[in-house]
């Protein structure tokens, strides 16, 4: 049940417990216990909402920043990653294979805010060798959700 439950709530964390129990073919108490276990094990870390901010009046700027760093003896990349992710404006930090080391996703209100973070905070860290900042111009799809289209059911109403 665990895999199927995770797949469902990753798409829709608002489905109520009764419906979850029904479609998984288990008792409600089993769902409650499983969710509690998933939270306790740190597998479910939160229940977020997909928002298409572009449709609101709220301005946001998102940047993907490639960061090359010098790994530290005994700690590898973890301590530098931690120093970066502690900033609340940093949304995500990933260790990446390939041409650079860390992928930092940063959200700010304005371009200036983002660029000052990069120049003042990020690139001044001792272990950071270089950064490359890419601003996101448009989000087409996020977390498996396509933002633009609402699809109509184009099937015939009755077919054998």
């Amino acid at each position: 049940m665990r895999d199927e439950l995770l797949a469902i709530i990753e798409k829709n964390s608002r489905m109520d417990l009764k419906d979850l129990a029904v479609i998984l073919g288990v008792e409600e108490i089993d769902v409650v216990n499983e969710l509690a276990a998933l939270e306790a094990e740190g597998i479910v870390c939160g229940y977020h909402t997909m928002i298409n901010w572009e449709k609101t009046n709220i301005d946001k700027v998102t940047a993907l920043i490639e960061v090359r760093v010098t790994p530290q003896r005994g700690q590898g990349f973890d301590s530098i990653a931690e120093r970066i992710y502690k900033y609340p404006e940093v949304r995500s930090v990933y260790l990446i294979s390939g041409g650079y080391d860390l992928m930092v996703i940063l959200e700010g209100k304005t371009l200036r805010e983002v660029s000052s973070f990069v120049s003042d905070k990020l690139s001044t860290m001792e272990t950071v060798l270089s950064t490359a900042t890419h601003f996101i111009l448009k989000k087409y799809k996020d977390h498996g959700t396509v933002f633009s289209r609402k699809k109509e059911d184009e099937r015939e109403m009755i077919t054998p």
Partner: protein, 389 residues
């Protein structure tokens, strides 16, 4: 002027679904639980192969029996899913949907007056195709108490000296019934005893929610007397691509290929290229869709339980077949009133044979959100009917 029409064709009743379709299409705001096709889009990697094939200019006929690569993939699939070996060069034919395979399979095997056994409720085209092929259709009425499975006894009782073919439509549209190994073994014995042939329509083979589907062709002695029909419509959500196939013994397949060659030439080339990718890389997509259907199936069964509507638990396809006999109406009346009063379209069980009387086909090829709305209306309707008695 002389009558231009063939009596044989004129005498065939139009599909019961057609009449209902006409009423529904007049209604702008109706919602439907009446479709027999998946709500999912064809997985993108499959569509992309179709697009690539067009870009590369692969717009010619393929060989009559279909792309060799596709026939090979069909054989690989049959081997890995059922453990049956077919020769891709002689024992596989790619058709325009499973429907064409039903038609030409019957035409290739029927002599005038041969009897074809058709268990009902079942898909609408078996009976007309049998008649057009010159056969006498003999209906076997399946029963709810057997979960709409075909029993050896029912089969035995329907067989005469003229019986040539049994059509075996499982997993079943419209009931959602399946035949498990033990059920198949029981009827295989009867089939062998009477030396009849089987046309096994397994178009819903990938959509079962218990054990994996078992093909009757995989049982001892059955491969050489079975035409196995399958296709891409249901498993890969590819209805509009019109692509199916038949596998079976060489002597039958060669004659089917002859009809196909003269009547059709070949199945659509674009669809065939896309289908190669479906069989090569589509297992994960099928698994995901199966999981989604199963969740909806559980949702509906639970909803029927809660509103006290009798329904046997189906383990295949994407239909449930609830019983509405308690309301003292025909299926047609119930479906018509439900449509008029609640604006939800379902298909009366009688569209799939007279023994579908007292039942409705409800499709769960809809998102959970849509099902919830429609089931809410069904509950309101049922409650109103009960309180007015």
């Amino acid at each position: 002027m002389r009558n231009p029409l063939a009596e044989k064709v004129v005498e065939i009743k139009p599909s019961g679904i057609r009449k209902f379709f006409d009423i529904v299409s007049e209604m702008k705001d109706a919602i439907s639980l009446g479709v027999g096709e998946p709500d999912f889009d064809t997985p993108w990697h499959i569509r992309e192969e179709g697009i690539y094939s067009l870009e590369r200019g692969r717009t010619f006929y393929t060989s009559n029996s279909g792309l060799k690569e596709l026939r090979q993939e069909v054989c690989n699939y049959m081997r890995r899913s059922q453990g049956i070996d077919y020769d891709p060069l002689k024992e596989v034919l790619i058709t325009v949907g499973g429907s064409e395979a039903i038609d030409i399979g019957l035409r290739a095997m029927i002599n005038p007056g041969d009897e074809v056994l058709i268990p009902q409720p079942s898909y609408v085209s078996y009976e007309p195709c049998a008649i057009l092929a010159g056969a006498k259709p003999v209906i076997i009425n399946l029963k709810a108490e057997n979960q709409f499975r075909l029993t050896a006894r029912e089969l035995e009782e329907a067989i005469t000296d003229r019986t040539k073919i049994l059509i075996l439509p499982f997993p079943n549209n419209p009931t959602g019934a399946i035949m498990e190994r033990k059920d198949l073994e029981a009827i295989a014995e009867v089939i062998l005893k009477h030396d009849i042939f089987v046309m096994s329509d397994e178009i819903y083979a990938e959509l079962t929610y218990k054990d994996k589907h078992v093909s009757i062709a995989s049982l001892p002695g059955m491969r050489e007397r079975t035409i196995l029909i399958n296709g891409f419509s249901k498993a890969y959500a590819m209805t509009g691509w019109r692509l199916g196939y038949a596998c079976g013994p060489e002597n039958i397949l060669q004659q089917m290929t002859k009809i196909h060659q003269f009547a059709i030439m070949c199945a659509p080339t674009t669809s065939q290229y896309a289908a190669v990718d479906a069989l090569k890389n589509g297992d994960e997509d099928v698994a995901q869709m199966r999981t989604a259907y199963n969740q909806r199936r559980r949702y509906l069964m639970n909803a029927f339980r809660e509103m006290g509507l009798e329904c046997f638990e189906p383990f295949g396809a994407f239909y449930v077949f609830p019983c509405i006999k308690e309301f003292g109406m025909t299926s047609d009346e119930f479906a018509t009133r439900f449509l008029e009063e609640e604006k939800v379209a379902v298909v009366p069980g009688t569209a799939f044979g007279d023994c579908g009387e007292g039942y409705l086909r409800i499709s769960y090829a809809y998102s959970l959100e849509n099902l919830k709305v429609a089931i809410g209306r069904l509950e309101a309707f049922v409650t109103r009917l009960r309180s007015s008695r």
